[in-house]
């Protein structure tokens, strides 16, 4: 073998062992294998050789070339691997335990509870209706069977306005409009009226931790052919079990509300003790939750629906009370305070 070839081979081997960076390696590759590289030069110098020498020399140079290429490739892989290892080693450990950055907004707790209830009702085919806060005496009272001089008007301390209208003291103020809105479809197609109407109500009373002059209710009703007390009990039990996410027992007691007949006070089995009796249910096992009943014939009639043909039930959930129960809010005034120290805690609940 030609001395030069041997020399070059030794040279490459020794140089390669001294290289620790990819850049140098590339230079090395160029200096041997490039167009002007030493090995390339050997090949170029071949034409000066005798024909019989040419073959052997050429084969040797090509071997050297292959050898150099392999060596460089291996070295490249080695250096790349080393470099990756270095990169990994250089990666600092991030302190994942540091406090997370938060700029989450918040919903009003009433919105959260209202959405949960609405979702349940929607899943059972109820529409969600909106209604005004300023209503007429007719809407709030007369249309729902509370004529003038009815004692129920005294029971609710209503805010009257200078123009004779009033701030609705109960969501029932929407009943008449809803009966009139969906009544025709009921009469024409037998499509039952299934509606809930959440809304803000007002009572003219002094506020304290348990009393507010502005609060939310969610009323609902279902009117159709043959809607019965039995259906009402079924519905309330099913709906409240969804609201509280556990199997609830319900109990009806007679209760007087002008817009229903019969009217009921609905109790649910105590959420804390399940009915065994505990301080929060005053050891009765029951919590008084909401009024409900069969819609009074006068209310149906006033809404353009014949009470001899159709029956229905209505119920009223105190949304404000539900929110307070759910989140353990003790002072009802926090809800309208606008105080973000309280309210910003209510990020999405679902």
């Amino acid at each position: 073998m030609d001395d030069r070839i041997l020399r070059l081979k030794e040279e490459i081997e020794s140089k390669l062992s001294g290289i620790s960076e990819l850049g140098e390696l590339d230079q090395l590759r160029v200096s041997y294998l490039g167009k002007k590289g030493s090995i390339t030069a050997l090949l170029k110098g071949m034409k000066e050789l005798a024909a019989e020498q040419k073959k052997a020399f050429g084969a040797d140079v090509n071997k050297l070339k292959e050898f150099a290429a392999e060596q460089i490739e291996a070295k490249t892989a080695e250096l790349k691997k080393k470099q990756t290892e270095l990169e990994i080693a250089a990666m600092p450990v991030f302190d994942i335990s540091s406090p997370a950055y938060k700029d989450t907004g918040s919903y009003h707790p009433i919105t959260l509870v209202q959405r949960q209830c609405e979702a349940i009702f929607k899943s059972m085919g109820f529409t969600v209706e909106d209604y005004a806060e300023v209503v007429t005496d007719y809407e709030c009272f007369e249309a729902v069977n509370i004529p003038k001089h009815h004692p129920a008007r005294d029971m609710q301390d209503t805010y009257y306005l200078e123009n004779g209208q009033l701030l609705k003291s109960q969501t029932s103020a929407a009943q008449n409009a809803i009966l009139r809105k969906y009544g025709p479809a009921l009469i024409k197609n037998g499509t039952p009226i299934k509606a809930i109407f959440p809304g803000r109500c007002f009572r003219n009373e002094a506020t304290d931790a348990c009393h507010e002059n502005t609060f939310f209710q969610m009323e609902g009703m279902m009117v159709g052919r043959d809607i019965s007390i039995s259906n009402l009990i079924y519905f309330m039990k099913t709906m409240l079990s969804e609201v509280f996410r556990k199997d609830i027992r319900v109990r009806l007691r007679p209760g007087f509300f002008p817009f229903v007949e019969p009217g009921f006070e609905l109790d649910i089995s105590c959420l804390i003790c399940g009915g065994a009796g505990c301080p929060s249910c005053k050891h009765s096992g029951w919590l008084e939750l909401c009024p409900c009943g069969m819609i009074h014939p006068n209310v149906l009639r006033e809404g353009g629906i014949d009470p001899d043909e159709y029956t229905g039930f209505a119920f009223d959930l105190g949304l404000t009370r539900l929110a307070m129960m759910k989140y353990g809010i003790k002072d009802i005034r926090d809800l309208n305070s606008g105080n973000l120290k309280s309210l910003s805690q209510f990020t999405d609940d679902e």
């Binding site: 123009n163 007691r253 606008g338 973000l340």
Partner: protein
């Protein structure tokens, strides 16, 4: 109202039944019973009747006496007693050794050197009354040694019914009506009360009595003389006390007893003071002293009972001091009357004086009750004071009767309403037990409603359903789902939009939802220098701070920002709430539902905060309506807004709201250094804007050409003006325009705009793009914009 089980059992035999269970069923079938039930008498035992045989002074004590007492066990017992009313021959309640009073067991006890073998008891000590003036005085002829529980109704179960739950049941304001419910619940017969036969007095002269006002429905009266009894029988006093009333004197107690028993308020006048009973109102106001000694102002609406022209009682509320029964009264004129419920209620409110009588009258009592109540009163009076003599005929003015109510229904009606099967016999039995007269003809029922239920309570078929079902028991109902046709449920656009907006503001922009009141906050706004603007006012606000309804949520939110300035260096609040914008042509309030957003920051510049708000609004429009907003400069109409940078917000050609900055004085009052920006949008207007459909744009297969122009914008030229310059030229090739850089100094406002051109059909040549750019540049030059580098 407290109710006595003994009293109820006067009228229905509940022997052998679990009383507590009955009370529980009463709560589920009739009216709510409070949780706590009182077992009266259960805490005392071994108390007997004993007679004092000897009284000696205690040598060491001025208060104490040494007694010898006959407690019926064949020997006299030594007792030391401190009561003032000890005397030989007095029969009293005596706690023998081993007797129990509450937690105390009576044992021999030494008192100042003498041993007492038992204790003479006062009524208050053994819980029979609140009389603690001395030891009990028993006047009944009872053998010594008799356990008082065997002669008096000491043991009793007392339960309380929430008055509110009786609002609609005028018949339940006395034990007799309650007993009727227990009879129906227990399935036992109701006994009629024993009454005096009033017809025997028909020959006697009538009471001079006249109703002169329609507010009195009925007035029944009778006169009785020669009444000698002063103190009520023990059982009457115990019952009154257990039911929350104090014993006063026999006649007053008896009227109260009748009220608690029959539910009929009664009044006993001293007949010497009331000779000509007239019921009327007076045109002129005057003052009147009621028997509690209080002077009360009587106006022209208050119905009065008079002796001729002299008022002697406020009808249905309280008697007068001058005509009340006194100790030497021997002749009484008894009132058993019925008054207009609303009138009594209103008078009660006007006088702010509610009594046991008015509480009952305002529920619409049954006028049929006045005469039987007199019969019952006389029966009891004569039973306990045998000398009493009726000296007048029953005098009964019955001015207005309630018309009878007859209801007809059939089995199918009951089946439909209840959703279960309650058989005909059960219907008949239940209604009959409650006093309804039922005629049944197969599936058909005809029912006469009893007089005590027609005054307000049972007037239509649906009321009958309640009667049947409540006694049947709602716990016994089989529960079934309703069968109803399926149909799609659609939510209103407004509702859907509201929810999307809330999510966007909370989730993307980190804002906090708050609630506030519908009226202006006078005091809080004043502190910020925001006047309460003229608007519809509350007619009966009790709090001067909340007299005017708000016409915008922005002042409210500025107040809320003020209270939250220390919450965080930067935050934003929003609310979807109502405002009232005056009255319409029908004098009705114009109510609008608004979204209000207010941003506050101590760290972001006012300008950046303003653009943050602008971007929030744009995001709402883009996200919910796929539309772009326009802004139109507007002039302030409220003193609390900054006149500069106030813009109306336009969506789909509709004015939907406003964006602005508070007036500097207001802003400084909120926080000296903070920046504040507000916006308010009419939600219904917003929702009514068309939601643009998504139009899919096939991405071009050919490369796009970007072309950047740096423009120096002169003052008074806005981006909206620039937009006009490329609006019409090369539209089909101009794919997008964006601002990629801004550069501002004192004199220069420079922005770099990137135009992107592309075609779906071909690769564009730089020459044709340059052509469009040249036109745009010329347009820009036309409004005074200089293009840098051209």
């Amino acid at each position: 109202m407290f109710l006595s089980m003994n009293w109820i059992c006067d009228f229905v035999d509940l022997e052998g039944l679990d009383k507590l269970d009955l009370i529980h069923r009463f709560s589920l079938s009739t009216a709510e019973v409070e949780n706590e039930i009182f077992f009266k008498g259960s805490d005392i035992s071994g108390i007997v009747v004993a007679e004092i045989k000897l009284v000696e002074e205690h040598p060491q004590s001025r208060k104490l006496h040494l007694l010898k007492v006959d407690a019926g066990d064949g020997q006299l017992t030594d007792v030391v007693c401190g009561a003032k009313n000890v005397r030989v021959g007095l029969k009293t309640a005596f706690a023998k050794i081993g007797a129990k009073i509450g937690d105390i067991t009576i044992a021999p006890r030494e008192l100042a050197g003498y041993t007492s073998y038992g204790m003479c008891c006062g009524e208050s000590e053994i819980g029979l009354s609140d009389d603690n003036s001395g030891i009990m005085e028993i006047t009944d002829d009872i053998p010594n040694g008799t356990d008082i529980k065997s002669v008096y109704d000491v043991d009793d179960i007392i339960f309380e019914v929430d008055n509110k739950s009786l609002t609609n049941r005028p018949d339940l304001w006395g034990h007799y009506g309650i007993a009727r419910e227990f009879a129906a619940i227990a399935g036992r017969p109701l006994k009629a009360p024993e009454i005096d036969d009033l017809t025997v007095y028909d020959g006697l002269p009538k009471v001079d009595l006249k109703i002169e006002d329609k507010l009195c429905k009925r007035y029944s009266s009778i006169k009785v003389e020669n009444i000698s009894r002063n103190v009520s029988p023990v059982n009457i006093r115990i019952r009154l006390y257990y039911c929350g009333m104090r014993a006063i004197n026999f006649l007053a107690d008896l009227t109260n007893y009748l009220m608690l028993e029959m539910g009929q308020p009664m009044h006993a006048f001293d007949a010497r003071k009331v000779e000509k009973i007239r019921v009327k109102r007076f045109a002129d106001p005057f003052t009147f002293k009621t028997l509690d000694g209080v002077e009360r102002n009587i106006d022209e609406n208050t119905l009065m009972i008079c002796n001729g022209d002299i008022p002697v009682a406020i009808a249905g509320i309280m008697g007068g001091l001058d005509s009340e029964i006194v100790d030497d009264t021997t002749t009484l004129a008894l009132e058993s009357a019925n008054f207009d419920a609303a009138s009594v209620r209103k008078s009660t409110v006007r006088l702010s004086h509610r009594t046991d009588a008015s509480m009952r009258y305002e529920k619409s009592l049954d006028p049929e009750m006045t005469v039987p109540a007199i019969g019952r009163f006389l029966y009891l009076l004569k039973k306990y004071d045998s000398g009493a003599r009726v000296v007048s005929a029953l005098t009964d003015e019955y001015a207005e009767k309630f018309p009878p109510v007859t209801l007809e229904f059939d089995q199918a009606y009951v089946d439909k309403y209840t959703g279960i099967k309650i058989d005909g016999d059960t219907i008949v039995n239940t209604l009959s037990a409650l006093g309804f007269e039922v005629q049944r003809n197969g599936e058909h029922f005809k029912v006469n409603v009893p007089s005590w239920r027609i005054t307000k309570d049972v007037t239509m078929k649906a009321d009958i359903i309640e009667e049947i079902t409540r006694i049947y028991g709602y716990d016994n109902f089989e529960i079934n789902t309703a069968l109803s046709p399926l149909y799609p449920v659609r939510m209103s656009e407004v509702k859907t939009d509201e929810e999307k907006i809330k999510d966007l503001l909370v989730k993307r922009f980190g804002l906090h939802e708050v609630h506030s009141y519908v009226w202006a906050y006078n005091d809080e706004q004043k502190a910020l220098g925001i006047p309460v603007e003229y608007n519809v006012r509350l007619a009966n606000a009790t709090n001067p701070n909340i007299e005017t309804l708000r016409n915008s949520i922005i002042p409210t939110q500025l107040c809320q920002i003020k209270t939250n300035v220390s919450y965080a260096p930067e935050f934003g609040i929003f609310e979807i709430g109502r405002v009232i914008n005056g009255l319409d042509e029908n004098n009705l309030c114009i109510e609008n539902k608004m979204l209000a957003v207010t941003l506050f920051s101590k760290t972001t510049s006012l300008k950046d905060l303003y653009f943050k708000m602008r971007d929030i609004l744009a995001a709402i429009a883009d996200d919910v309506k796929h539309s772009e907003l326009e802004f139109v400069k507007t002039e302030p109409t409220h003193s609390y807004v900054h006149p500069v940078n106030l813009n109306r917000i336009i969506l789909d050609g509709k004015d939907i709201g406003v964006i602005g900055i508070p007036h500097p004085t207001v802003a400084k009052a909120v926080d000296k250094k903070g920046s504040i920006v507000f916006a308010e949008i009419d939600i219904n207007q917003f929702a009514s804007a068309k939601t643009q459909p998504i139009e899919y744009d096939e991405p071009s297969k050919y490369p796009a050409i970007e072309y950047d122009l740096s423009m120096d914008i002169p003052q008074g030229v806005y981006f909206s003006n620039l937009r006009e310059c490329w609006k019409n030229d090369g539209t089909e090739l101009l794919q997008s325009v964006s601002v990629i850089d801004t550069y501002d100094t004192e004199d220069i406002h420079r922005i770099t705009v990137r135009f992107v051109f592309s075609s779906n059909e071909r690769t564009l040549s730089s020459a044709e793009v340059q052509e469009i750019i040249n036109i745009i540049a010329a347009n820009l030059a036309g409004i005074g914009v200089t293009i840098a580098g051209i």
